[in-house]
């Protein structure tokens, strides 16, 4: 008679027995069990055949063109150098100009006053340039979207200062200069068609 427990123990040792790695004591116990358990003995023979099949499983030859296809697929999938998107480069240029202009203007309010004192016409031209810059930046901001919003947000403060500066200088315009100012009111309304319009 054999017990289920003996059969389970025998099953656990079948691979080690097949590989010759079973120790002498369990090997003797297994041999004794197999001698009186036909089920486990038959299972061992089947296991031996399974391992023989597994070790000799045939592998077909790959298709003739597989190597060429695999090589071509790898080459086709290689990463390509991506051209730099246009907007960020324009964005960097415009942001740099804005920073430069706003820095000069804001820090140089006394310069603006001197300009006003010297020539209100010259000051008005400066206002027009700032207006152009503001308009382009706003258009750029709309096209750049969230990707560049954090950087542009930092410019907002500067733009506000520019607008205040412009408003202050427009508050007392010289009659000869006012006549030539396009879009007297919202920033850049008359000059947004150049350069940085979103596509």
């Amino acid at each position: 008679m054999t017990s289920d427990r003996e059969c389970r123990t025998a099953e656990e040792h079948l691979s080690a027995d097949l590989e010759g790695s079973l120790g002498p004591v369990p090997l003797e116990a297994l041999a004794a069990h197999l001698a009186r358990c036909r089920e486990c003995a038959a299972l061992r023979e089947s296991l031996r055949e399974v391992v023989d099949i597994l070790h000799t499983l045939p592998v077909p030859e790959p298709a003739e063109g597989l190597a060429a296809r695999a090589a071509a697929a790898a080459l086709a999938a290689r990463p390509r150098v991506q051209p730099r998107p246009e907007n960020p480069s324009w964005l960097a240029l415009a942001a740099g100009l804005a920073l430069l202009a706003s820095g000069l203007l804001v820090r140089g309010l006394p310069v603006g006053e001197r300009l006003e004192a010297r020539s209100r016409v010259a000051g008005q031209r400066l206002i027009e340039q700032v207006e152009q810059l503001v308009g382009d930046l706003e258009a750029l901001r709309a096209s750049a979207g969230a990707e560049a919003s954090s950087r542009l947000d930092r410019l907002d403060g500067r733009l506000q200062e520019l607008r205040r500066w412009r408003a202050e200088h427009e508050a007392t315009p010289a009659p000869e200069a006012r006549g030539s100012t396009p879009g007297n009111g919202e920033c850049g309304q008359g000059s947004r068609t150049r350069g940085l319009r979103p596509a």
Partner: protein, 203 residues
């Protein structure tokens, strides 16, 4: 990017894998094609032993070479021979292949193996067919095994890895590897025996 046949390029006959690799890294597409030609059978064999289907193994082979090409810079001669590194990458990819939710394929009923593409043993036709029937039965049995038994069995009995290597590959203890491989074999043996009983000893 030329398409090359299976024949080796005479200009690369004397080039070692290392030399071809150096050229590949320099952007030589022909060297890459030659390197793939040399190792396609090895990679296909690994893939086929995992999936058991020619078409799927060929797809897997392409995926592996795409992956290898993108990782060429990671290979160093200190990692051992290129072929051994390639085999390891292939096995990893084959394992990942089935861990990405493709289990359903394993339980599909297999089409019979493409017998005309298999090497014949030279034995008699009847004996060969009986043997082939058992081979197909065992192969289907492998695919029906749960993953935790199937993977170590394939790595051991089909890929020829040692228990230690399998433990490392699958990140499981050595004793667990041995136990799972034995359980997988016993499960297949039990099914084969049951089939033989059902078919009166001819299966």
């Amino acid at each position: 990017m030329g398409v090359r046949t299976a024949a080796p390029d005479a200009s690369f006959v004397n080039e070692t894998d290392s030399e071809l690799l150096r050229r590949c890294r320099g952007g030589d597409d022909e060297a890459w094609t030659e390197l793939v030609r040399r190792h396609t059978r090895k990679v296909f064999s690994i893939a086929y032993r995992f999936c058991g289907r020619v078409e799927e193994a060929e797809d897997l082979t392409q995926e592996i070479f795409v992956k290898v090409y993108q990782r060429l810079d990671r290979y160093q001669s200190a990692d051992g021979a290129f072929g051994a590194w390639l085999s390891a990458v292939s096995r990893n990819h084959a394992i990942d292949h089935y861990r990405r939710g493709r289990e359903e394929r394993l339980h599909q009923i297999d089409a019979p193996l493409d017998l005309e593409r298999l090497a014949t043993s030279g034995a008699g036709q009847q004996k060969r067919l009986e043997r082939q029937e058992r081979v197909d039965f065992v192969r289907r049995g492998i695919r029906a095994l749960p993953r935790d038994l199937r993977e170590p069995l394939i790595l051991c009995d089909l890929q020829g890895l040692s228990y230690d290597e399998i433990a490392q590959q699958l990140s499981v203890p050595l004793g667990t590897v041995k136990s799972r491989i034995n359980r997988a074999r016993v499960e297949l043996a039990r099914r084969l025996r049951q089939r033989r009983d059902e078919f009166g000893g001819h299966a």
